[in-house]
Subunit: 291 residues, 2 copies
């Protein structure tokens, strides 16, 4: 498909995700962190456009495109890491979308599987360099410490591809798990958004999908920043609110607001769930969703 | 300059403008109208990217690019007219920016003057067609009624260029006046934003500049929808709030919120001032402003 179309779907996914409110614990149109603001996310989404467009035309180079996206995002805003996890999902999605003739059927899933499985050692090395460019806090894969510049040499010595690295992290990282298991949460998220938009505004469709994804999955970002218990507790809280509200956004809105304030006060941000929402929004828009 | 850079400056200008809150009477991140929502503006800004990029590479075709932008915007959202007035300012700005070697000095102003003065009869006809595509409410220029399809023939018979048409409207339309007088309010707006961002967030820099521009100039959109008296009254109200607040955003925030609620209740939206803010933001970003 037309690379400018694909790039715009990815860009709009990022812009809609960060705008949706209340999205408990994360930056949204009504919440900033101290050094990172809503507008930094907007500028990042705008800034990466040419990288997304190039990726949609390319048959290889996932790691390099993720790194270019991270660097270009930083040129357009001073809020630090905004979309790192999102780029790890969006870049292969955009490359797969660019390789499809149209938006129908199974093409996106098939191409996506090929894109991630055909990644190389160079892709792994580029992603590692991107992590240190962006100064992102992640759990080291095996003994490959991000703060150690020798890690890239070790990756090359061991001949690890980017897909291999994702396999090594898939047990504890929902983003890596997406790569390894053919993006199940991304497609589930797209299905939920497309279903919810029939009865809700685009904002509320995103908020409800975010709550459902959070309720079902421990957020990796919370688990890394705090621990597994904290991540489980947050998911349980989300599930209780959804159960009590019975799918009615007007019933739940106050509870979601209160949950949001609580997570913000504690510094608990479900960043990995937000990344999956962006990926799911991309798929919905790619498949033709409009509002 | 690099057309992808220019297009991103224009896109970010649109996204930042619609996000800035409280922006009395207009759609912002906290206010929707019934049929047009915040997200429609975001989708419009994302959707027009390829048109902006093409315009940044082109030496002519202002009217056609404005029309293409209007049509592309409508393909990405169902909220109706979002950025019509903004495109009338942005397209020549983007074309002028694309013709400059770098962002320094007087180049943008010089190229801009050439772009608008070299417009043709075809540009005028294309803009007229764009008006009817977008179903925008404007005062007819002379006897060239927008709802009359014969107007395009009359424009051609009379040999009117787009610049000629802007000269005919400049007495009552601040957007047309920008074209005719070398974009004075646009550059003034850029100067104000760059000055205010030294002490304020990007949001507050935009809100304060919006208030100052509104206080100084009768808004054409209000004048067309209501009358000249209403537009004057709105400007006077903005001036009183600014005078009382003495430039301190924290002092003024409550008053601006109250002013916003009042204008929204009355259906009074200073849309032309918002268009000038977008143009001013483009110039600031083109000149290198980051946040």
């Amino acid at each position: 498909m037309n690379p400018t179309h694909i790039a715009r779907c990815a860009q709009l996914a990022m812009v809609l995700e960060v705008s949706a409110t209340p999205k408990p614990g994360n930056i949204d149109r009504d919440h900033n962190y101290t050094d990172t603001r809503f507008e930094h996310f907007l500028a990042s989404a705008v800034g990466v456009y040419p990288i997304l467009e190039k990726a949609a035309c390319a048959g290889s180079g996932v790691g390099s495109f993720i790194r270019q996206a991270v660097l270009e995002s930083a040129r357009w805003q001073s809020g630090g890491n905004t979309h790192f996890g999102a780029f790890i999902l969006l870049i292969p999605l955009v490359m797969a979308g660019g390789a499809c003739e149209d938006e129908a059927g199974e093409c996106l899933r098939e191409k996506l599987e090929r894109v991630v499985k055909e990644t190389t050692v160079d892709d792994a090395a580029e992603l590692y360099l991107a992590f240190s460019d962006a100064k992102v806090r992640v759990k080291p894969v095996d003994d490959l410490d991000l703060s150690d510049s020798a890690s890239v040499d070790k990756i090359k010595e061991q001949g690890l591809t980017l897909f291999d690295m994702m396999e090594m992290s898939a047990g504890y990282d929902i983003i890596a798990e997406e790569w390894v298991k053919s993006f199940p949460k991304t497609f589930e998220c797209a299905r939920l958004i497309k279903e919810k938009i029939k009865a809700h505004s685009i904002n509320d469709a995103i908020v409800l999908t975010f709550m459902e994804m959070l309720a079902r999955n421990k957020d990796t970002f919370i688990q890394t920043k705090f621990d597994s218990k904290k991540a489980e507790e947050v998911s349980r809280r989300a599930a209780i609110i959804l159960q009590k509200g019975g799918g009615d956004m007007e019933v739940m809105r106050n509870d979601i607001h209160a949950f949001d304030r609580e997570l913000l006060d504690e510094g608990v941000n479900p960043g990995s769930t937000a990344d999956i929402i962006i990926a799911g929004l991309f798929v919905s828009l790619f498949e033709g969703m409009r509002f």
